[in-house]
């Protein structure tokens, strides 16, 4: 199981109606590709974040598949239009079955 997995998210606390805001996310994760061998020649099993899903008030914002070639500590930045106050829910899915979640609210004035 991957250790020290910590999601980090930056979302503005406030926005105006229909504003397009920038969201930055990063999760610390080794993203072991499954291609490498240890010093005894045995394959190191794949262990990656394979899916990243973001919703806003229950509506899909992005839903992406992550592949083994993505490097350690995957960083994802995107823009989203916020029509109303609400909550972003960020979910990362690990190969080992773990699910990491983070939530951030945005106040629309």
């Amino acid at each position: 199981m991957a250790e020290n997995v910590t999601p980090r998210v930056r979302v503005p606390k406030t926005a105006s109606k229909d504003e397009v805001i920038q969201i930055k996310t990063l999760i610390s994760h080794p993203m072991e590709s499954g291609q490498r061998k240890d010093k005894d020649g045995n394959l190191i099993p794949r262990s990656i974040i394979n899916r990243f899903h973001v919703t806003f008030n229950g509506t899909d914002v992005i839903d992406m598949t992550l592949e083994p070639a993505i490097s350690t500590n995957p960083y994802v930045e995107f823009e989203a239009k916020v029509p109303e106050s609400g909550e972003f829910v960020f979910t990362w899915y690990d190969d080992d079955g773990s699910v990491y979640e983070d939530k951030h609210s945005v106040e629309v004035s």
């Binding site: 020290n4 910590t6 930056r10 930055k24 990063l26 610390s28 350690t72 500590n73």
Partner: protein
């Protein structure tokens, strides 16, 4: 009428050509590092401490000598890849280990209060008259109070912890003591700084005092200030400790290096830190 001028010019030219290359190149601008869009400003150029005695006109953060893309990474804690290790260091701070079943936090509690200022004033002479770096303080606590194993000086766990400790002094000017009990160590470090090592016969000063701002292979030399350590180095995709950097420099002169965590490197660490007295601790800086 023009002849004497020409002669003077020619003489001046000849004189200039015969001078040794005093070729340090000061940075063109010395803007502060603005962290998190104005949350904190770290000056990058300050007057040199008195003991330097005019060796350099100003002391500069290594940040000024890096390219724009690298500089930007350090201005935002989200973009700064070193911050992941700071987070891991804080986890380490709260991790109970050893026979005494204690963590750092069991005694020191909040890292942001307990460790504030430590990085700015180390290395320093402890109560027994021994020069200690932050790593020594950590391992002293681990062995004697947590009754746990000492951490490897250059290992990830130690670097994460020193990064987290360093962050608590971010913005505070470096202010290491060089007099009193520290003086003999400082003198030893100074001696090392100006001693040519290795087959290439280079001292620290040959590059970092005489030629900062100039090219060395594909990069610019800095003044070799240590206020940004531990640094996130893009080349290594990880944190680099001060002693590891010293070892790398000495190795590059094709010399047998001192060991990481040796008394020699502690003394050098003190002297180099004192050359940066007045520059702010940058927490975890980002370098090439």
């Amino acid at each position: 009428m023009t002849t004497p001028f020409r002669m003077a010019a020619a003489a001046a030219m000849a004189c200039a050509l015969s001078l040794p290359a005093l070729a340090e190149t000061a940075p063109e601008n010395t803007d502060p590092i603005v962290i998190n869009a104005g949350e904190l400003e770290l000056p990058t150029a300050v007057p040199p401490p008195a003991h330097l005695d005019g060796a350099v006109p100003e002391i500069y953060s290594g940040w000024l000598f890096r390219d724009a893309a690298t500089q930007v990474m350090q201005t935002d804690d989200f973009q700064n890849p070193g911050m992941i290790f700071v987070d891991q260091g804080i986890t380490e701070w709260n991790t109970v280990e050893g026979a005494a079943e204690k963590s750092c936090a069991s005694c020191h509690e909040d890292i942001s209060v307990a460790m504030k200022g430590l990085r700015a004033t180390t290395p320093k002479v402890n109560k027994d008259g021994v020069l200690w770096s932050v790593e020594d303080y950590v391992n002293d606590c681990r062995v004697n109070r947590m009754e746990a194993e000492a951490l490897d000086w250059n290992g990830d766990r130690m670097k994460n912890l020193t990064a987290a400790i360093s962050m608590q002094s971010r913005g505070m000017p470096v202010d290491v003591a060089i007099d009193g009990p520290a003086q003999p160590f400082w003198e030893q470090g100074k001696e090392m700084y100006y001693t040519r090592y290795g087959q290439l016969e280079l001292s620290c000063s040959n590059c970092h005092e005489d030629h900062y701002g100039d090219w060395i292979r594909a990069d610019h030399l800095s003044q070799g200030q240590t206020n940004g350590f531990p640094v996130y180095r893009l080349k290594d995709a990880g944190l680099v400790s001060q002693h590891n950097r010293f070892r790398g420099c000495v190795r590059d002169t094709r010399a047998e290096t001192f060991a990481i965590g040796s008394d020699e490197f502690r003394a050098l660490e003190l002297y180099v830190a004192s050359r940066g007295n007045g520059l702010p601790v940058e927490g975890v800086s980002v370098r090439h």
